[in-house]
Symmetry: C2
Subunit: 437 residues, 2 copies
Amino acid sequence: MGYKGSSQKFLELSGISIGDIIKITKNNVSYQGILLDRAEDPDDKHIVLKLDSGYNIGIDVVGALAELVTKGDKPNLELPPLDMGKDVDKPDISIVSTGGTVASVVDYKTGAVHPAFTADDLIRANPELLVHANINGEAILNILSENMKPEYWAKTARSVADEINNGADGIVVAHGTDTMHYTSAALNFMLDTPVPVVVTGAQRSSDRPSSDAFMNLISSVVAAKSDIAEVTLCMHAEEDDSYCLLHRGTKVRKMHTTRRDTFRSINTLPIAKIEKGKLKLVDKNSNYKKRSNENVQLHDDLEEKVALIKSYPGIEADIIDYHIDKGYKGIVLEGTGLGHCPENLLPSLERAKDSDIPVVMTSQCLYGLVNMNVYSTGRKIVSAGVISVFDMIPETTYVKLVWALGQTENIEEVKKIMQTNIAGEIGEKSSEKYFLN
Amino acid sequence: MGYKGSSQKFLELSGISIGDIIKITKNNVSYQGILLDRAEDPDDKHIVLKLDSGYNIGIDVVGALAELVTKGDKPNLELPPLDMGKDVDKPDISIVSTGGTVASVVDYKTGAVHPAFTADDLIRANPELLVHANINGEAILNILSENMKPEYWAKTARSVADEINNGADGIVVAHGTDTMHYTSAALNFMLDTPVPVVVTGAQRSSDRPSSDAFMNLISSVVAAKSDIAEVTLCMHAEEDDSYCLLHRGTKVRKMHTTRRDTFRSINTLPIAKIEKGKLKLVDKNSNYKKRSNENVQLHDDLEEKVALIKSYPGIEADIIDYHIDKGYKGIVLEGTGLGHCPENLLPSLERAKDSDIPVVMTSQCLYGLVNMNVYSTGRKIVSAGVISVFDMIPETTYVKLVWALGQTENIEEVKKIMQTNIAGEIGEKSSEKYFLN
């Protein structure tokens, strides 16, 4: 943290510290705002201002003039402890934080965003959560979700199970959005839960006026109090703050790089909508696992040597052989159309079969059923031992194979697990109607 | 073709031949229909009936009873030649056929589907095409599109250029749907065309009452007569036969395994709609390249050693090293979110940079802009030399890198090509609004 090199000198020369309100003029344009602390890995040329609009800008100090407007307060990250006294009339919800944008807190004095090292920080930043429940916070990881991996999925599942065993009435998992749907699928397979487990995140950090963090967290707490005892994913339903949707954790996918309504149920409807603190089923007749008093079951053995390979015109068969030779235990193919790949891969797929390495076919179309019985290529791929998994999306299929190979070494058993619906990941045959919804 | 084994014996015993109308009874249920020829790779247990509904069913002959209803005509694939006399008032449109469902013809006597070995067959199956234009047909390939590869893209581009040089006023390329969008992107980069080039296909073969083949072909011929001198992709807009959409060939993707409206413009609007033989722009102000009298330009040099790699939680850096070691000249990563991959890949990405192998980042979200300047991981990936390509979809990015590396060996030049809009593949910054449309 902090400035270095030329930007440090530039600030020192003007007598400016982090938190001061300053005016910077460059190329005849002036910007006024609060000087923010830099995030990790600062270069030595840029300073960051938080403008009145709430947005942050970086300015190259070369050729810029700085002027102190108002001396700011010193940064203060030590907020007073909250009164965490337990209200016996409210349910106990645990927030398990793994990191990501939603798990960042703003220092309101400087406007800087810092990772929330404890979930208590999350509550301090969002005290309204306490209106809905007694909140217990635990930060088990502090990583950006692009760095998530199966080992961390298992750690998260164990923490969730611990919280349930310790009496939590529902769990919220705070997570970065990049790979949130992989984790929500993984938790679904690893946990047989008697209470709701709701994975959530944010597309805008809470220092942005347009942040979705707060509404997603509050809506997730509402879902965690509900009767839906599955692992679900809760995020904005639309670009504005109209309501949130609760998606089945195995049938959801990040579909847009920036929009707040980026998460979409694929080949199914979302389970529920959460609007102004109230949860309503999207389809009154929909099936979901109901809250119970049973014990949580944890199945956290995973096989990490699994690959997800996307097929493309010109793909070489060597890539399959490479994974066989490197000791991979399973392969998920993201094929084209109904579940195809170029025929030049067939001998290597046969080799995988002969090596007892299950290969599972999905479709890069994302929407719709895989069906390898329609065209001759598909039938040849089936003959090479490749497993079809109906309308399961590629990401969930990868996660499920990582999990299935952790449960058994028997390949026939793995095949059976992959083709059997366990946590809503394989849906109705009539899923054609749920296209781009 | 034909039956073998037990199904052959079963038919012989009942005196039944292909084309006969028969009644099959099994488990107290009877089916009546025309006995079809089998497609390739028949097993020896099933026969195929075309029912009155137009649908085909397969029946296991074990335990079935067959009864001849009416002796059918012998199959006749030799249809009379059409009067192909040229109407000087109509434009000349060439149909270049590469294979796939749209390029199949039905033997109306037997109901069997055969690949159209010449495009004349296509016209015989769809004589209404001649109302719109003088049709010249050429079958240059007969493959299922999952077997397409860069070498065939180049062959297709050369054939299209030949047809234009020979005076065609517009081109329709018939193609399987699995990888049609990869080919439409490739033709866009390889061809600078003065006339429309329209790629089309079908989701249902023309022996199905619900076939989209005919409407897609007719609409494509209408588009090929228009003023839009780009490589576009024309397919059904909705599940029913309401109208077709003309998509920009570099910004379109197959999004559903079975639906007829599977192709969707990503991060942009379609260029035009074609309804009842009339083409209308979707946005009157949209830019497109207009028909001209200039010569077609062909740039068909491609570099086949390019890989498309999808990132996933747990991906190992070795996969990057593998492609470097195998002599790959370029890599497209399909990252998560705004364009991220796990940080454990960074040293291998550095190694690619040091080996003059361009690595280009896209997003598996598909929709939205890649922006690696928002989070620390993204900035580290940029420092490792990875190239960002804005809102270009992964499939088009792969195709473009195959093409760019064919144009120059200068890595800086490749980077510049990748980040410059050439054929509509890089769009407006405001593409957020074009989500799931």
